[in-house]
């Protein structure tokens, strides 16, 4: 922990290194769910932490800097821009790897589920990933994404219904 003074308030900030050690793998899980291949998931995660490190004096002073990083990952993962760049990179790799497995570490059933999630509107995909991978409540998801719990609940219900249709499974919980 380091201390800084903001006005009359003493703010305790953990070191970036400690934050990184604690949060990297959980955030990577979120990125794996939201990105079509493992390489991109790692890329997105590392860039989010790099961004946090650059602003650590501010991000580290937040009550929950992990939420900041998760929001960066959630938004970047669904960005059209990034998706196009990802495709470009995948294209470059094709000569070297004929049919690259996007997530070799995951079973086919899991890949199918997250493909269905990624096909959803971006907010629904983010909500489902944060809810299931991170185990967040609707209130917590709302704090990460900057929206109300009611909005999260709506996205969750619609997203779950769409995934059920795509997978051909029952919708009710």
């Amino acid at each position: 922990m380091t201390q800084s003074v903001e006005g009359s308030r003493i703010v305790e900030t953990e070191t970036f290194e400690a934050f990184f050690r604690r949060e990297y793998r959980p955030v990577l899980g979120l990125a794996i769910a939201l990105n079509r291949d493992r390489w991109t998931a790692e890329d997105v995660t590392q860039e989010a932490f790099a961004a946090a490190q650059q602003r650590w004096s501010r991000v580290g002073a937040l009550e929950r800097p992990g939420a900041w990083v998760r929001r960066v990952v959630a938004n970047r993962s669904v960005s059209r821009w990034r998706r196009m760049e990802t495709e470009a990179r995948a294209l470059r790799r094709m000569p070297r790897l004929e049919n690259p497995a996007p997530h070799p570490e995951l079973v086919a059933e899991t890949v199918e589920v997250w493909e269905a999630v990624r096909s959803l509107p971006k907010r629904q995909a983010q909500v489902l990933a944060l809810t299931y991978v991170e185990g967040l409540t609707t209130t917590e998801v709302g704090k990460v994404l900057g929206c109300s719990a009611a909005t999260v609940k709506t996205h969750l219900q619609r997203g779950r219904a769409s995934v059920a249709r795509r997978l051909g499974v029952k919708e009710e919980r």
Binding site: D43, A51, R82, E87, V133, V163, V169, R173
Partner: protein, 484 residues
């Protein structure tokens, strides 16, 4: 029948386990910082070694303890938008007191101006910007309704942005692929996600009569409008792949709208490219033809005169990369090829490893080609192939670039301005500018309002003929005008 909740729970568990097994990245993942920024000692000290880190209680902070007091990103200070805006015409010399953001470490001085709610924009995220031949600036912005878009243009007389026509009412949440000026307004390619999560791409045109669905109005085949490029006569060419079919180009000119479709059966051996990337389509090549990937093994050129396929060697594939005034550049495996009046030839033995994973490729008018990758930037000078190290490539790796203060981490895009300078935009590390005349890098200080990482701070960039760089942001637009 399996419950969807069970499927999601199992899939989530699988993902968490995969993440838990993941090795932690090298400690220098965030090594390259602009030099004026402070780098924590542990990062600077561990430039080559891996730091063995232990994952501890990954989601503990989320599942236990108190509710986060705030999950908001760091607060950034957004300069007040100016109420007066200088003309963007190429000949303009008038400038009106903008909000000046100091750039203490910049090698190139200039001024950033933010345009938000006080300058006529709604203060919502802008998706894209276009600059027309007269210097007019067009902006397509989101509104409070996620299914509605509003077009704005810069009113030079009143020095503010004004809404143009009625909002474009769409069927679902939307994003733009691109927006470009046409002879009568703008054309924009929009993606929509309907309630069934079906993605629809539509091509819209705006003129003084309002919005038109180009595909419906002109009875065009449905196309994934990958990219658009201005034609020399002021028109616009749209290039993309039709659904389940081959390449297609659409020309929007003063004469109207016309399209050319690759002949059925001529393309890709029945295997159209699964990709819709800008790097794989060149709308206007040096001979006027459009260049596409054809399947995964060939490259092809299309115009009204026909469709010509160039098939690569076995087990390889061409990827069209960029065009200059006399030819096009393409990759073949890890090699770089060029096609011009003399046909195809290999021009270098290998693409530098520093840019083995290029994210952006541009060809400048002086004949250089630039590859911008995660781990560096490489410039290829075809006039210096012989006798120059690395087959004509000048490579700026991270460590080399660091010495001159260039933030190369996470390069994402690049644009050329009329002066043929290369702007490099990177997530979280701001903008850089390559100045050809001095052969030096210049770092442009990034104001806080472009650093809102939670929203993806730079949505889109475009350069105007007078050298200004326009950036679409999460709250409006911003302009950087280099000092003379």
């Amino acid at each position: 029948m399996t419950n969807v909740d069970n499927r999601l729970q199992r899939a989530a568990s699988d993902v968490r386990e995969a993440a838990d097994r993941a090795p932690l990245p090298p400690s220098n993942m965030a090594t390259v910082q602009p030099q004026q920024r402070q780098v924590p000692g542990w990062v600077a000290a561990a430039t080559s070694a891996l730091v063995v880190l232990v994952a501890v209680g990954g989601v503990a902070w989320l599942l236990g303890g108190d509710t986060p007091e705030t999950a908001e990103p760091a607060v950034t200070t957004v300069p007040q938008p100016v109420t007066s805006i200088a003309s963007e015409s190429a000949t303009s010399t008038t400038e009106v007191a903008p909000t000046t953001i100091p750039a203490p470490a910049a090698l190139v001085s200039g001024e950033w101006v933010a345009f938000g709610a006080d300058a006529g924009l709604p203060g919502t995220p802008t998706d894209t910007i276009a600059v027309d031949d007269s210097g007019g600036v067009w902006v397509l912005a989101h509104t409070d309704d996620p299914t509605t878009a509003q077009l704005y243009s810069l009113d030079i007389g009143n020095r503010t942005f004004v809404a143009r026509g009625e909002p474009l009412v769409l069927t679902a949440e939307w994003y733009t692929l691109w927006m470009e000026a046409t002879p009568t307004g703008v054309a924009v390619a929009i993606e929509e996600y309907d309630a069934s999560a079906v993605l629809t791409q539509r091509l819209w045109q705006w003129d003084d009569a309002g919005w038109h669905d180009l595909t419906t109005e002109h009875d065009l085949p449905r196309v994934d409008p990958s990219i658009a490029q201005r034609l020399p006569d002021g028109g616009l060419r749209v290039a993309g792949y039709t659904a389940g079919a081959g390449p297609m180009i659409i020309d929007i000119t003063d004469d109207g709208v016309a399209y050319v479709l690759a002949p059925e059966g001529a393309w890709g051996g029945g295997r159209p490219s699964p990709f819709t990337v800008r790097a794989a389509v060149i709308p206007v090549g040096p001979d006027g033809r459009s260049w596409f990937m054809d399947g995964i093994e060939s490259i092809a050129a299309l115009d009204a005169g026909g469709y010509e396929v160039y098939t690569a060697d076995a087990d390889c594939c061409y990827v069209p990369l960029a065009a200059d005034e006399t030819g096009i550049w393409a990759s073949l495996g890890s090699h770089l090829y060029r096609y011009d009046v003399d046909g195809w030839r290999a021009v270098t033995s290998s693409v530098p490893m520093a840019t083995d994973d290029p994210r952006s490729i541009v060809a400048t008018a002086d004949g250089d080609i630039w590859l911008l990758g995660r781990s560096g930037v490489a410039r290829f000078d075809p006039d210096n192939i012989d006798g120059v190290a690395r087959d004509g490539w000048t490579v700026f790796t991270i460590s080399e670039a660091e010495a001159v203060g260039v933030p190369l981490v996470s390069l994402q895009t690049s644009v050329l301005n009329e002066g043929d300078a290369v702007w490099l935009a990177s997530w979280g590390n701001g903008l850089s500018l390559w100045l050809h005349d001095g052969h030096k890098w210049a770092e442009i200080n990034v104001p806080d309002f472009l650093n809102q990482e939670d929203t993806g701070f730079m949505q889109n960039t475009v350069t105007a003929r007078n050298g200004s760089l326009w950036v679409a942001t999460s709250t409006g637009v911003a302009r950087f005008k280099p000092a003379p």
